[in-house]
């Protein structure tokens, strides 16, 4: 496998060798690209310089949110361009950064995070249940449900609902009530962690033990060892 990745090319030799080419439309212009490559690779393959809209390339950072439509289907869908393959007849455009408003807050200073939600994000309770956010989510999160859970104060459920959220923001431009559901999700999830979760007792015991110097003797013994002795010691410890 070594050497098979041509660093000068977006598309690997294996992909380029695939005989089948497909026609796609990128931001309104038609191109021929190898079948099955990702939308991101299609950008590179067709000579686009990519400085915006590309991040982790692994489906986690949400930078490459993309709108696409397949042949003859009127429905415009969303995906992460780094993790979605081209199809013949597909049209797509990478989504520009959307100017959503993020509230700023100090989670420890808030009097009542569940009430404060309505001050920080006063639009949150105005959801009209259109469900467009859920349909826009490339991570298949039930976004609408998450927003309602936040409004009803079930922040634990919000944190579970939004755990898969990559913050691509595709739920924001579709909202007719101008809610930024992903930002509401982060707020509620963090507030749950900071204000509702119990402190893990074992962690605080361990921090205290370190502060009390309970491992000092072990450290002294270990750090005096020669490399050979250390190797012996670490080889003999087992679970």
């Amino acid at each position: 496998m070594t050497g098979s990745f041509d660093t000068e090319k977006a598309v690997s030799r294996e992909e380029a060798l695939q005989p089948q080419m497909v026609t796609v439309e990128i931001a309104g212009k038609s191109f021929r690209v190898p079948a099955g490559i990702t939308l991101m690779k299609a950008l590179w393959y067709t000579g686009h310089e990519v400085t915006r809209g590309a991040g982790c390339l692994g489906g986690f950072c949400g930078a490459c949110a993309t709108y696409y439509r397949t042949r003859d289907d009127p429905k415009v869908k969303t995906c992460l361009g780094c993790s979605h393959a081209v199809e013949d007849g597909m049209s797509f455009s990478f989504a520009p950064a959307f100017p959503a408003r993020k509230a700023t807050y100090d989670l420890n200073e808030l009097e009542n995070p569940k009430q404060d939600l309505f001050t920080l994000y006063p639009e949150a309770p105005l959801c009209r249940n259109c469900n467009a956010c859920t349909e826009a989510c490339p991570q298949q999160i039930d976004v609408r449900e998450g927003v309602w859970k936040a409004v009803f104060g079930d922040f634990k459920a919000v944190s579970e609902t939004f755990m898969d959220c990559v913050m691509c923001g595709m739920c924001v431009p579709v909202c007719i009530a101008d809610i930024a559901p992903n930002l509401v999700g982060v707020y509620a999830s963090r507030a749950y962690g900071v204000r509702e979760m119990e402190k893990p007792p074992g962690l605080f015991d361990r921090i205290q033990a370190i502060a009390d110097g309970r491992y000092n003797d072990d450290w002294e013994r270990i750090l005096k060892m020669s490399d050979d002795e250390l190797q012996q010691t670490s080889a003999t410890i087992t679970s």
Partner: protein, 526 residues
């Protein structure tokens, strides 16, 4: 080719394999395996660096060129600053955010610059978890010894002791920011076992640990209104007449203009190097992982350590083609997933260290026991359905939602069928030499995270990177914040760059590339 027939080999051998226990290798066996099959030992891939602080040291050809590379910045660039800060943090991943938040928290004026968006990083992709010795049967000393063993005893003891001892306080900090680590029924932090570790020590947020941490850190950086400079790539550092670091020059990726930032201290947190595709390997790394911090630090005179060793993560995707090089979480092996060759046999203890497991996968493939797919690529199986068999239906959905989704996008159901994997370039084990506060040999230049070196030895242990980022991000942030109050801004010069250029000329270094690389050259040129 019938892929189902290839799958069937795994399905048929599953019950027999479940009865097996494979021993871990002895130190001597590990050495032999690694020397024969690990990419770090392919001599032809290496050459000495021809000049500079690491002159004569062997490293991979790709990195040597970057270190010897020339800057895009002209000698006579006007250095009137566009930005002034106490602390300039370069990089918006885990280490950069941790450094910025801690420095800001102490009252320092921070500028956080990144060439992509805040948070676009490798950190956000970390799935396996974060090693912190919190369990009652565990200790920082045990964590130290496991890491040392994983690193082939080559880890810097002082850096390592610092990291493992500060781990628990990092967990506390993240909890206070609202990071939702998985918990046990008694409220304690749930720990999972990672490859190469003798104790269960991985803190996780299902298989979204890095994403959860980064969502929170990004949100907090924005809450704190820390000044941001996005889509601007650091292309050169600045130094004063004594050689201390005094800022950086950026290039705006949109309009290509140079931007000068004057800073009393600089923290480089630019991450790794995977997008240089060392030895032609695919990579699990993010778009901007081009080793920029190494080039910047090297030109200003900071020595690097252990630049001859890289981590090839055992489980990079092989099929389908869209997933080539992308990481398949180690968590599957932590929870008992088997590695299986084309004959339906296990061939390594799956929880051995990454270098051992990767070397053994390469061995299987080079000796003809791999599985060749219709795309021409070769790999071995990771038996994901085994987890459903062992722990009950729904296990993968519950513990590995990200991975289920990752494959479902391409029509592969990992609950029913195994996935094919092969090592992928994952991590730079070495980097810029730092002290326990992250400071380099160049005064007022700090490095945190993957760009730094020494802590991980010759092989980083799973789950130690997230902790590294947080501990040394924090320490560098606190150290600079404690220093800047009594400092004034230094002079802004490019003296070090002029010296570097004279040296390159004297040594007749030809065909110099431009470095830092900033972004990989994937765009097809006409």
């Amino acid at each position: 080719m019938d892929i189902q027939a290839l799958h069937d080999v795994v399905h048929r051998s599953r019950d027999a394999r479940r009865q097996q226990t494979l021993p871990k290798l002895s130190p001597a066996e590990r050495d032999t395996l690694i020397k024969k099959f690990h990419p770090d030992h392919r001599e032809a891939a290496y050459r000495p660096v021809s000049f500079g602080p690491n002159e004569g040291d062997l490293t991979v050809r790709e990195l040597a060129s970057v270190l010897e590379g020339d800057s895009v910045v002209p000698d006579d660039l006007s250095l009137t600053p566009h930005y002034e800060a106490d602390v300039l943090v370069v990089g918006g991943g885990g280490a950069g955010c941790a450094a910025a938040l801690h420095a800001h928290g102490q009252g320092a004026k921070v500028l956080l610059a990144t060439k992509l968006r805040l948070g676009d990083s490798n950190s956000v992709m970390a799935q396996g978890g974060m090693q912190i010795a919190v369990a009652p049967n565990d200790s920082p000393v045990q964590h130290f010894l496991d890491t040392l063993k994983g690193g082939h005893m080559k880890n810097d003891h002082e850096l390592l002791k610092t990291m493992v001892e500060e781990g628990p306080s990092i967990a506390k900090w993240l909890l206070e920011l609202g990071v939702l680590f998985d918990r046990d029924d008694d409220g304690n932090l749930h720990v999972k076992k990672g490859g190469g570790s003798t104790k269960a020590r991985l803190l996780t947020c299902s298989d979204y640990t890095g994403l959860e941490i980064m969502r929170v850190l990004k949100d907090e950086v924005l809450n704190q209104k820390i000044q941001l400079l996005e889509f601007a790539a650091a292309v050169e550092l600045l130094s004063d007449e004594h050689g201390a670091c005094t800022g950086a020059v950026f290039q705006d990726l949109d309009n290509k203009r140079f931007l000068v930032a004057a800073a009393k201290t600089v923290i480089l947190a630019t991450g790794g190097i995977g997008r240089l595709h060392i030895q032609g390997f695919p990579t699990s790394n993010h778009y901007g992982a081009t080793g920029d911090g190494l080039a910047l630090a090297y030109r200003i005179g900071a020595p690097l350590v252990q630049i001859d060793t890289f981590q090839y993560h055992p489980s990079g995707g092989v099929y389908p083609e869209q997933l080539v090089g992308q990481l398949v979480t180690e968590g599957i092996r932590s929870e008992g997933g088997h590695l299986v060759n084309g004959r339906g046999e296990r061939f390594v203890n799956e929880l051995d260290t990454r270098d051992v497991v990767s070397s053994s996968i390469i061995r299987e493939c080079e000796e003809g026991r791999g599985v060749r797919m219709p795309t021409g690529r070769v790999g071995v199986w990771l038996d994901t359905p085994l987890l459903e068999a062992e722990h009950g239906e729904g296990t993968l959905d519950k513990h590995f939602p990200a991975m289920v989704r990752q494959y479902a996008r391409y029509g592969v159901d990992i609950r029913k069928d195994p996935v094919l994997i092969y090592p992928t370039l994952h991590y730079q084990n070495g980097g810029v030499k730092i002290d326990v506060n992250g400071e380099t040999s160049v005064k007022n230049l700090f490095v945190a995270g993957e760009t730094s070196g020494g802590l991980h030895g010759r092989n980083r242990l799973m789950g130690n990177s997230l902790l590294d980022l947080m501990v040394f991000g924090k320490r560098s942030g606190l150290t600079v914040a404690g220093r800047v109050g009594t400092m004034s801004h230094g002079r802004l010069t490019l003296n070090h760059l002029q010296r570097f250029r004279i040296e390159a000329k004297k040594r007749r270094v030809t065909n110099q590339v431009t470095s830092p690389v900033v972004l990989p050259a994937y765009t097809e040129q006409p």
